[in-house]
């Protein structure tokens, strides 16, 4: 063995080629079948090109071929973790076209169900975000609680995930007699778990180190990209359709809109988007408590409707605040019992389009976290 030579390296002289890496469509942390084409300079992301459409299930084509009530099951399957919230803008739009007003009790049940589903959706969002950051326990905690919420949905509608519960002019069935007690019990449980998760995950030093100052989305960029929901509010924009343009009966409740404030990093980073979701769960709990207190016990849950639902000619755009953001339906009616065109403004579709903008310049591992903090559901991206 000869003498060991020390190799002097001038790191600035080493040239590295850009590398193109394919992530997905089968990848555990793309939250479904998203495919990302990533250009890397070492570990640094220089470009992200999302390829979508791996779950394109032709929702809009189906909507044209079905009658108005038949479209609802397909709407469930768009964003499959928030089915109740998805149904709401569609049924509201058709009801507005027909000019019917639903009974008081129905409005309350709809609001309670939507808020419960908002909690369930945010639980999945935070749980999978924790998974992306390497924390497995919150996943188990949240899914335990989620089962209780699903049990209520199951008692009311008969299904665990895709409900077809909100019908045009009412609901498919009345709620069960112990509905109010069940809901209040859940609210208690959700609050308890959220407290635990805050200690366990949200204010955990490691978690903060990984998510603070990562994927910063400034407010003006968020608006130009038409982001909505926690992605927009995480950037400090106080905008929530439930407050700004109250639909259904949301104007009767007292609640706050949490926004990102950059407590541990910069306004609009991944941690902010996540904390907005955590705080929204608390606000949903408040809405549910008020709604349960005000909800009338007696009453019909289905308005009288003609046998064939034929809205008048014309078009309407109706939107509502989904857990992921602002979900809109543009419905064109031609006067028959089938819609001429239903275009869904998928919330995740729009929110995902901001990913290439905000993930440049971060580490590759951060890209996964940024994606997790946007909280997409591929069923809604591809429809």
């Amino acid at each position: 063995m000869g003498e060991k030579k020390r190799i002097e390296l001038d790191y600035s002289k080493i040239e590295s080629d850009r590398m193109r890496l394919n992530v997905g469509p089968q990848h555990p942390s793309t939250h479904g079948v998203l495919r990302l084409e990533v250009e890397l300079d070492g570990e640094i992301v220089t470009e992200v090109v999302p390829h979508i459409g791996y779950l394109h299930r032709c929702f809009e084509k189906h909507a044209e071929k079905m009658t108005y009530p038949q479209v609802i099951p397909y709407i469930d399957r768009m964003d499959y973790v928030t089915s109740m919230n998805n149904e709401l803008p569609y049924v509201m739009a058709v009801e507005k076209m027909l000019g019917i007003k639903v009974p008081e009790k129905v409005e309350y049940i709809r609001v309670i169900m939507c808020e419960l589903n908002r909690i369930a959706s945010h639980q999945i969002a935070v749980a999978t975000f924790g998974l992306d950051a390497g924390a497995f326990t919150p996943f188990l905690y949240f899914f335990r609680d989620r089962e209780y919420i699903l049990a209520i949905f199951e008692k009311a509608s008969g299904a665990r995930l895709l409900f077809n519960y909100f019908w045009i002019g009412g609901l498919s069935a009345d709620v069960h007699p112990t509905f109010k007690e069940d809901v209040l019990a859940i609210v208690k449980q959700v609050r308890k778990t959220n407290k635990e998760i805050e200690d366990l995950l949200i204010y955990n030093k490691i978690f903060i180190e990984r998510t603070a100052n990562v994927g910063i989305l400034p407010a003006d960029v968020a608006i130009n990209y038409a982001c909505s929901g926690p992605v927009l509010r995480g950037s400090g924009v106080k905008f929530d359709l439930r407050k700004n343009e109250p639909y259904s009966i949301y104007d009767r409740f007292d609640f706050d809109i949490p926004v990102g404030m950059g407590e541990v990093g910069t306004v609009g980073d991944s941690w902010d988007r996540n904390i907005v979701r955590m705080r929204e769960m608390e606000q949903s709990c408040r809405i549910i408590e008020q709604a349960v207190a005000q909800m009338p016990d007696e009453g019909d849950v289905q308005e009288k409707l003609p046998k064939r639902i034929k809205p008048p000619k014309g078009d309407i755009y109706m939107r509502a605040e989904n857990p992921k953001g602002d979900l809109g339906f543009y419905i064109v009616s031609n006067g028959t019992d089938k819609p001429e065109r239903v275009k869904a403004r998928g919330t995740s579709f729009v929110n995902l389009s901001v990913l290439p903008e905000i993930s440049k310049g971060y580490m590759f591992a951060d890209l996964i976290l940024i994606l997790g903090s946007i909280d997409i559901v591929l069923g809604e991206v591809d429809r």
């Binding site: 979508i52 459409g53 990209y225 939107r319 064109v332 275009k343 389009s353 903008e357 429809r383």
Partner: protein
Amino acid sequence: MTINEIYEQLKEDYGDSIIELVENPPLDSSIIIKSSAVFEVCHTLRDKPGFEFDYLLCLSGLDLGENLAAVYHLYSMKHAHKAVIKTIVPKDNPKVPSVEKIWRSADWHEREAYDLIGIIFENHHNLIRILCPYDWEGHPLRKDYKEPEYYHQMKVPY
């Protein structure tokens, strides 16, 4: 601002390019404009004080039989008012100027409208299919679309 006021103001600025205001209460009213003026009108709508539509809610393509249409739903965060802009183009030459440079969110919406309806957005930086595979043929949401028998040796119909 109501849609009537917006229409009046646009009419003043652009004259003939603004075709008409279709009112249909209680449903949405829309302003129909010429396709050649889409970019300028949208630019005005975003930047002129008083309008300030900084948020493109939705951009949809429509198949009207003979013609195709692009529909823009706009919203202003500042003034909380809405507007619906429509432009109609013939099916054999469906060209609409892209508004991607005005609202970045239009990028994917336009690609989707191109993919499913077949409207060609001029000056779009990357107008390729988005939902269907890149080698897909035809525009599925057109009323006269026939689904293919086979795609890559896979049978498509049930």
